[in-house]
Symmetry: D2
Subunit: 135 residues, 4 copies
């Protein structure tokens, strides 16, 4: 979203200039899409007839939705690099673990296919921010 970049550029504090505007906006956008995809997928899986086969994936989606949302807030505030590194690492784990299980159901559930794509993109975008942060 063009808005993300515009909004983020009003923040002058924190992790800048280590993390560039484009990397930061790309991560935020990937997180927003991921949250929506994973919340939709969790609720859709609960309503499926084969819900018994999806139980582990539902819990992972619930974890992922929560962890990404909070990581996005910490990244948006952008002022505590040590915390941000730890939280981004948790976020990558949450996204990868969700993608792994939803990926197995991608063939027969469209919401799982979209969710596993969105969580993988989010993990990649968070990984990019992690690479740019000083440690």
């Amino acid at each position: 979203m063009a808005v993300t970049r515009q909004v983020l550029d009003t923040m002058t504090v924190g992790i800048r200039p280590e993390v560039g505007s484009e990397t930061l906006a790309a991560a935020i956008d990937a997180m927003l899409e991921c949250e929506e995809a994973v919340n939709t997928c969790a609720a859709a899986m609960v309503t499926e007839d084969d819900v018994r086969e999806l139980r582990e994936a539902i819990i992972r989606d619930m974890n992922c939705a929560d962890v990404v949302a909070v990581t996005r807030r910490v990244l948006t505030r952008a002022n505590d690099t040590a915390l941000l590194v730890a939280q981004l690492q948790a976020c990558v784990a949450a996204c990868e673990h969700s993608a792994e299980l939803c990926g197995r159901h991608a063939g027969h559930h469209e919401h799982c296919r979209l969710c596993s794509q969105a969580t993988r993109r989010c993990a990649d975008a968070c990984g990019q921010v992690l690479r740019d942060l000083p440690r």
Copy 2:
């Protein structure tokens, strides 16, 4: 975001068909942009030199960020119309109250200008969903 519409169309339960895909996707997108704008603005206001003049606006942004995020989750799950109506009404109030105060600081803080725009758009989009929901 095109992704929002694609993801939401995998949900077949709940408030459909009363609320159309476009109205729903527009609301979700307005909420995502609003959350990011208002979280950015809250953190930016805290760091401003004139923070004493912004104190009430900060609290309203904090409330708004929380309420919009949860309303988006309830709207995404889309299966409890009575709860959704009540939560959307709270969301409209949170957005309007935030827009009112950040609007006063829009002239000298760019993040407040963008935030008040985003919260007004979000209030409008939630109002549109409310108009379509049966009561």
Copy 3:
């Protein structure tokens, strides 16, 4: 928790003195217990063998957990009475709708029994704050 009362008494702004310290602390404690009970119950239901019979209850617990958590934050900040009234009304709806469905499974799932008790207590405590707030 004794701590809740002690912490809340450091806040001098906002909805005081309309809502007394005891009513406020009782509501916050009921919300904390409710959040934990409903998050536990949602995750436990997902893992049950009869998950297909629990699907609607799971979604309601997910909504309830989110709505109570945010209502508690708005109540803790205690400075926007109109928003607080709307958010508390949504919270009562979320708790009652969750209690209704988990109550049906209380006989065969202990987590549903504890959850339906906790959500009913939370709805009552929020109702008490609502009665004390000016409108």
Copy 4:
């Protein structure tokens, strides 16, 4: 809270038996108290006359409130040890960073004193769970 232990004992999956009931319930209770203390303190600091001296502490409290809340949800679901370890590490960082700054204001702001106590207790309780988890 006695309720926490009772509720958690209905969960039979996940990180049990590595993490015992008492360690788990103690951590959940410490997190609930921490969330309430840190949300109260953040809002109280924003309203203080010396808010300019508290700006960094406010941002850290906002981060801490969000991170603890989500860590508690992941711990309650208790089924993804690798994610839980990463999220608990982020939680310890968030609590310690908040305690560090609020501790400096503990002499003149009672909410900062209570908050720094609660965040330290929470960091300790999360550290205990981390020591019990297999890695």
